[in-house]
Symmetry: C2
Subunit: 355 residues, 2 copies
């Protein structure tokens, strides 16, 4: 019997609990964050999750934060971090306060952390947790790839990547979660995978601007969208290699191709056209400014790609200046950062694409 | 003054003539195929192309086949082949009969040719023309990438690849055609580029099946579509390297990554969801058989991906049997071929995806 504790009862945490609970030798607990009391309350009373809009089987124990004891954390074999990025520090505190040291710490939350040295690349959560939760160092697994939570919960075929520095940990996690519909590949470059997972939200903003920038009688032009989708994946490759190479966990290899797989091109495919990053990008492509959009219809909504861009900006600027990154190869990244930092509409100059 | 002759006055040939004619030092002639008399007639009388639905400037000379003389072919510096794939042999005959030997032969037509030895990979048009039009051998350039003809004609930003074995030919062609909105990269592996351009039509059938196979209340599931899009690009990489390596023009390099760029992932992005291959795939994903679809609403319509699959099948089967291709890495290709050859609906088993 493997005890799996999912922290965060939003749509993604809850959706992941479902394939976990379909294995009869797993014992799954879904614990709400400080923001999830109403969700857990609904699940406890009705066994229905109101935002994911699926039933939650009785085999999943649902707990409010007030019901979650240190023993739940300490006895968990696997802890899955399923909160959104602003909750990452809360999770770290919770784990450390309970002195939990699970066999595996799995991470669905995506984002970057500012590097203390702002001339260096930002850190992924994989590296951040490595030092913030030292008792699980080396046993952190990232989960990435094209996965809309509700579709996973409904049993739609879904294919993702599990990554860990020691690939055996990713394989162990796959054994616990894979089903006939939830299909999992494994990878060792967890930092590049996490970098892609975070940066695809950022790059999605610029690609999605093409949904509104070139309207046609029957919708919008597809050529500019495909051109910038393609460019976004190429830039994701460069940025994820740069972040991975600078990681304290860097293996010295010249850089993996994870951008050309599920965590990169696969996830960007599903991210463009759905979700908050795409919604923002579509507004910016129509000529609006960031401050206007987040001050109006997107007020109070976390747009993870904007936060990711802000974490990326200092190191990116330093690396382009020093030549560690070839600025000419990264015009899309530069243009999205310009829109964020200068509060400008996104108006991409296609002659800046490398020849 | 550079004389550019476009053969084929359908939407793509005509669309390409427009950026060419925007360079004042080009002299552009658009010549219709045996099927294009009505189109040329309309252009001559109204300067409007009825299927592309754009005006054609007076600077482009439009000729019916009966008005095209051997001198037009012999004096052309660049001939652009802009017919659809069933017209390729007609073009070869026309060029050879006129003894034309242009400085450059550019190719928009996409498809594969059966290899005389059916245990070997099919040939791309780049290789086929190399021997069929020997007087231009070494001066053939392929044009590939995400480009809907009407959008190019309307001046929507578009980014494509020009490829030629000697990359200087691709660069020369870029000089003649590039504008501020039609952006061009160049590549030397013309065989891999042409293989991607043809095979993306074939792979699009299986990816597009996911548009209908998993309906949801608000459209269709995106996770399976992204999973098979991702898999299609990975298979495109393997197949294009295999075809390129077997080409008489093979350079001995271990294989380029062109599948991870405009001719592969970029073009597949735009092909899925639009066009005839996608339409067929969507029908097959809904449980219908190929014979039913092409016998009814798609009767008489050329579906290039089906023809490409039939050219691919013998060599693919032989290579999987001999171990030259790892069948386990190519489940999507195998499943689409099964649908075509066994006249079966497309019902993909996601557990076949490599782990």
């Amino acid at each position: 019997m493997t005890k799996i504790l999912v922290l965060g009862a939003g749509v993604m945490g809850t959706a992941l609990a479902l394939p976990a609970a379909s294995h009869t030798d797993n014992q799954v607990t879904l614990a709400g964050s400080p923001l999830d009391d109403d969700l857990i309350d609904a699940v406890q009373k009705t066994r229905h999750h109101p935002t994911l809009r699926v039933d939650v089987p009785d085999t999943i124990e649902a707990l409010k934060l007030s019901e979650l004891g240190a023993a739940h954390l300490r006895t968990a074999d696997v802890i899955v971090i399923g909160v959104s990025s602003p909750g990452i520090d809360w999770v770290v505190e919770l784990i450390n306060d309970s002195a939990a040291a699970p066999e595996l710490l799995a991470l669905v939350t995506k984002g970057l952390v500012a590097n203390p040295d702002d001339a260096l690349p930002p850190l992924t959560y994989a590296d951040y947790l490595q030092s913030a939760v030292p008792q699980v160092a080396g046993r952190i697994a990232g989960i990435a790839g094209p996965c809309i939570a509700r579709e996973l919960a409904l049993g739609m075929p879904t294919r993702v990547t599990f990554a860990s520095r020691d690939i055996e940990h990713a394989r162990r996690l796959r054994t616990l979660l894979q089903t006939s519909r939830y299909r999992i590949t494994t990878h060792a470059d967890v930092v590049a995978v996490e970098a892609c997972a975070a940066l695809k939200n950022f790059l999605c903003i610029g690609v999605s601007a093409m949904i509104s920038a070139y309207p046609l009688e029957d919708g919008h032009a597809k050529n500019p969208l495909a051109a910038l989708y393609n460019q976004a994946v190429l830039e994701l490759l460069i940025l994820s290699r740069w972040i991975s190479a600078a990681s304290p966990a860097a293996t010295g290899t010249t850089g993996s191709d994870v951008a050309f797989d599920l965590a990169g091109m696969g996830d960007l495919h599903v991210t463009v056209g759905g979700g908050r990053n795409s919604r923002l990008g579509t507004c910016l492509g129509a000529g609006r400014r960031l401050s206007d959009v987040i001050g109006n219809e997107m007020a109070g909504i976390t747009v993870e790609g904007v936060d990711t861009g802000r974490r990326l900006a200092p190191g990116f600027s330093a690396a382009c200046h020093s030549g560690a990154l070839a600025a000419d190869a990264l015009p899309l990244t530069a243009a999205i950062l310009h829109s964020i930092e200068s509060d400008a509409a996104f108006d991409f100059d296609f002659t800046r694409l490398p020849g």
